[in-house]
Amino acid sequence: MSVLSETIDWFSRSSTWSGNDGIPHRLVEHLGYTALTVGIAAVVAVPLGLYIGHTGRLRGLAVAFTGAVRALPTLGLLTWFALLVGLGLTAPITALVLLAVPPLLAGVYSGVESVDQRTVDAARAQGMTEIQILTRVEVPLGLSIILGGLRSATLQVVATATVGAFIGLGGLGRYIIDGQRSSDYPQMLGGSLVVVVLALLLDGAWAIAQSLTSGRHTRVLV
């Protein structure tokens, strides 16, 4: 169990916690990439998903796009973009956005579609405009599923940003890639554990947000 004690040792070193290669800095980088990517993906996917969910148009296209992106290997995409675009944030962030859009898109249109058609018809019969139906009926009622899409996208990005360290991205993946290059297993293991904890915490936060909104969902329905 020497690896384990060496990993504990890695965690207890002060250099692990300070400077540009310290956990706090890497964590902030990782969260920054995640927020940036999910933000950009949301700007693209949310309006599109609302449109698809509300009108039912382009649905086949969205499903096909989602399936096609899913089949692409993330590492292949990252390295390809890196060689095409060169060093810097553009390549990894573009690849991450591309991977975050499908789950987000699917979450948004599935959420809107999940609303009972009778409820939508009732809203229309009351004289609501299409925009009102979308913002006051479909989005509130489908919010839990829409957040599910954000949740999946976040997980996807946290995981892929880790892999991004291979093409020079900062963040927590650095410990794994740098550790691998210098055969420093304790550092790899330590970094891995931090990523896992981060993923679980973010997933838990989204789960709480989802359960809060689905609570409102039932109250509205009752």
Binding site: P73, L84, A159, G191, S192, V196
Partner: protein, 237 residues
């Protein structure tokens, strides 16, 4: 593309390795997940717990999992076994929820009718429930297969070679063609697996052929989102 032809032996060898590294987790994961899904469907009180546990497994990102696994199971750091086990875990995580839904999709009236005609529990499970859950199980397995094939490449980062090695090698040599060949080969492999699964499905379930087919993406997102609850996400890892 001349590069791919000149290096066809290497590409083909990596293709086969990739195929094995994907096929084993899909088969083993599928076989493990079906009983889990059946169990959780049969025990509504435990269902929440079982499904929460499997989706928790899915939350663990792949690269960190590949680093942590050797320590937990005592394999060598470069052992392909790490990739096989990690991908089996993900396969179970995706498939168990779908299997649960698949058994939930079987009409209770049909089960009652089978019981009334004297089917014993085991015979009921294998000859009535399983075949009727088949189409949804197949849709789930197709999702698992696509995601597994695309995930195997990550192993290249820790030295387990597959088509992913073309990505790491191409990147280090600043050689785009090699990466593109790797991506194309991975997609071809995913399509091949999908075709095999569809074919096996038609052989095993000839009656389902006339019904509207469930595409992998529809199956995937339907399973992940329309159920509301905990979403297992895309192949995040």
């Amino acid at each position: 593309m001349t590069w791919a032809w000149e290096n066809r032996e290497l590409v083909l060898e990596l293709f086969w390795r990739h195929a094995w590294l994907s096929a084993i987790p899909v088969v083993v994961g599928g076989l493990l997940a079906v009983p889990v899904g059946w169990f959780s469907h049969r025990n509504p009180r435990l269902r929440g717990g079982v499904l929460a546990l499997v989706s928790l497994l899915y939350t663990v990102p792949s690269l960190p999992l590949l680093v942590i696994l050797p320590l937990v199971i005592g394999t060598g750091f470069l052992s392909p076994l790490n990739v096989l086990i990690a991908l089996t875990i993900y396969a179970v995580a995706i498939m168990a929820r779908t299997a649960n839904d698949a058994f939930g999709s079987v009409s209770p009236a049909v089960l009652d009718a089978a019981r009334a005609t004297g089917y014993a529990p085991a015979r009921l499970a294998f000859t009535v429930e399983l075949p009727l859950a088949g189409p949804v199980l197949l849709a789930g397995l197709r999702v698992v297969s696509v995601s597994t094939v695309s995930l195997v490449s990550i192993g290249a980062l820790i030295g387990v070679s597959s088509l992913g090695s073309l990505f790491t090698d191409g990147y280090q040599r600043d050689f785009t063609t090699e990466i593109v060949v790797g991506i194309v080969a991975t997609v071809v492999l995913a399509l091949l697996f999908d075709a095999v699964l569809v074919l096996l499905g038609r052989l095993a379930m000839p009656w389902a052929r006339s019904q509207r087919s469930v595409t992998p993406t529809q199956g995937r997102w339907a399973a992940f989102f329309t159920r509301g609850g905990v979403s297992a996400g895309g192949d995040a890892l």
